[in-house]
């Protein structure tokens, strides 16, 4: 049994699947959020995970990152089982996430937020403050490109605009050089130029040979940057399309139909 599992997992990795989720079920109390979902991400692939509110997208990615555990089903990453899993382990494996909630602490400085949960420390646990501040500064200037002199590593998150906060959350994910970057509604509340920046980030991920899961309501943002679309509806996968097989308008139409009738065609 274990051998067969290992073999199939190995197969998954050999097939170039970075992430493979099989028959995932998840409930919270009485609410059945995921009802048998199969989901995978390939190497150097941008997957657009789309669907209405309540479809289960955020829950699905929290299973990947170890925030929650599936009630049943299996998850493989690079061929290894990560069904039972923690946030720490997911980061060690090279999975980074920009959560919808952003996971920033408002009253804390940027240099604390950058390294939240993975602080750089000396032997007894004392922070390497100088190093954390320097690296945060580097991240701000190079990766996010904050040119404003007003934003420093000592700035509190609460004094940043929505777009700047998003920039910090994304910059944090990119900085740690993940192989799989998950972005949950990263353009929410952003201006047009800030949204443009986010989409550029995502395209940059593709160029660097990494993979990403891009969750958004907005097909018009997802379509240009994704390679494949997975439509989640009420806890199940309603459909999957490769970009080359479907036009943007067609995809939009199908989504509208789905919302109205519960079916894709």
């Amino acid at each position: 049994m274990a051998d067969a599992q290992a073999e199939s997992a190995g197969e998954g990795w050999q097939n170039g699947q970075l992430l493979s989720m099989r028959d995932i079920h998840k409930s919270f109390g009485e609410v059945n959020v995921l009802k048998g979902v199969d989901f995978h991400v390939g190497s150097n692939e941008i997957v657009g995970l789309v669907g209405d509110n309540g479809a289960g997208k955020s829950t699905l990615i929290k299973l990947i990152t170890g925030v929650h555990r599936p009630d049943s089903g299996e998850i493989y990453y690079k061929g290894d089982s990560i069904t039972i899993h923690s946030v720490k382990r997911s980061r060690a494996l090279g999975i980074e996430t920009v959560y919808q909630e952003r996971a920033l602490a408002d009253q804390q400085t940027l240099w604390r937020n950058m390294f939240a949960g993975r602080e750089l420390t000396h032997a007894l646990g004392f922070l390497k403050v100088r190093e954390q501040k320097d690296r945060t500064d580097k991240m701000l200037r190079e990766h996010i490109g904050f040119t404003s002199k007003a934003i420093t590593t000592d700035s509190m998150v609460m004094s940043l605009s929505g777009g700047e906060k998003q920039g910090v959350a994304i910059g944090r994910a990119l900085y740690f050089d993940a192989d799989l970057i998950i972005l949950d509604e990263p353009t929410m509340g952003l201006s047009l130029s800030e949204t443009r920046k986010v989409l550029d980030f995502v395209q940059g991920i593709k160029r660097r040979g990494k993979s990403a899961i891009f969750i958004s309501h907005n097909i018009y943002y997802v379509y240009p940057v994704a390679d494949r679309f997975v439509i989640l509806d009420r806890g199940q996968v309603a459909g999957e399309f490769l970009k080359k097989d479907i036009s943007q308008d067609d995809l939009v139409e199908r989504m509208v139909l789905l919302a109205r009738t519960g079916k894709l065609d």
């Binding site: 925030v67 946030v87 996971a103 602490a105 804390q108 939240a116 922070l127």
Partner: protein, 322 residues
């Protein structure tokens, strides 16, 4: 100008320092015969540390967004254990160990109720406050324990001896612990986790911080330092009495809040608590010294608390964001 966290903290700490300066300015000018002599400071140094040390420890708990009302009772119960074990065994080091262990376990009980059973800490610790006071009542049966035999031992000197014949050792403990707590909260990984969890526990969880463990350790260290304060206050008079600790609840919390630590969590100032303790600890004697009757004490406490926390509310509100 964008708010730097450091500047915000600095403002709070400068405010409380200003309050201290103003109060002592009044004391110096209205009661110079008392405040220009060493005696009163000797008295302050002997007494402030008992609640001051607990104020430092509880600053971590409040920064976490939690509350602990049980510490005066934990102080008393662990002090009883200290006295009893010493009385029975004659070994003060054994008494020390058991006393601290009891404090830590009491903290663990609080942690269990808050973290595992998920009772809000304010409510849970009201329960444990009564519970541990009750344990003291049952155990002590209204009787005190004499620790006169401890006087003169190395341990006694270490805790409450007069360093250089002048400085009460407990004050050095208080100052030393203030420095240690500052480093813990501001320069240690654990402190960073406390700030994060107090600020946004969900974010902390998503970033892989073990929220349950942070809370558990915070409550356990509170119990530890309540026990330590119990040892100090017991040794100072070489006597354990059953109502020990009573009266420390509000002074300890007042010291923390006038020091500037936010009751909402996510921000804490050890310097503020230290100065807050100095203020609260010297207020009563100072008020009498300047000629007001004891009746004035409560209203002045109240005024200082209201003024300080109002200043902080205004300072913190100036973020420009809800």
């Amino acid at each position: 100008m964008l708010k730097s966290a450091r500047i915000r903290e600095l403002r709070l700490e400068l405010s409380i320092l200003a309050v201290l300066v103003v109060i002592y300015g009044l004391f110096f000018s209205l009661a110079p015969n008392v405040f220009f002599r060493f005696d009163i400071y000797y008295s302050f140094m002997s007494t402030i540390p008992f609640f001051g040390i607990m104020a430092l420890a509880i600053t971590l708990v409040v920064t976490l967004g939690q509350m602990d009302l049980s510490f005066p009772s934990v102080l008393a119960f662990s002090a009883w254990i200290f006295g009893k074990v010493f009385e029975i065994s004659g070994n003060i080091w054994l008494a020390l160990l058991t006393c601290l262990a009891v404090g830590v376990l009491a903290g663990a009980l609080n942690a269990f109720l808050v973290v595992q059973v998920r009772i809000p800490s304010l409510v849970a610790t009201i329960g444990t406050m009564f519970f541990f006071r009750g344990l003291v009542n049952i155990s002590a049966q209204g009787k005190g324990i004499s620790l006169v035999e401890a006087k003169g031992t190395f341990f006694y000197e270490l805790c409450v001896g007069r360093i250089g014949g002048v400085i009460p050792a407990q004050f050095l403990w208080f100052a030393g612990l203030a420095i240690a707590f500052w480093f813990l909260l501001n320069r240690h990984c654990f402190g960073s986790h406390i700030l994060f969890v107090g600020d946004n526990a969900e974010s902390a969880r998503m970033m892989g911080i073990n929220v349950k463990r942070v809370k558990t350790i915070a409550f356990m260290q509170m119990g530890l330092f309540a026990a330590f304060a119990g040892i100090l206050s017991t040794l100072e008079v070489t006597y354990f009495w059953p109502s020990q600790g009573q009266g420390y609840l509000l002074t300890t919390l007042a010291a923390v809040f006038i020091g500037g630590t936010s009751v909402y969590g996510g921000m804490g100032t050890i310097i503020g608590t230290f100065i807050g303790a100095l203020i609260i600890g010297s207020l009563e004697a100072g008020i009498i010294a300047i000629g007001l009757t004891g009746f004035w004490i409560q209203v002045i406490y109240g005024l200082i608390i209201m003024v300080s926390v109002s200043i902080y509310a205004v300072l913190l509100r100036k973020r420009g964001e809800a």
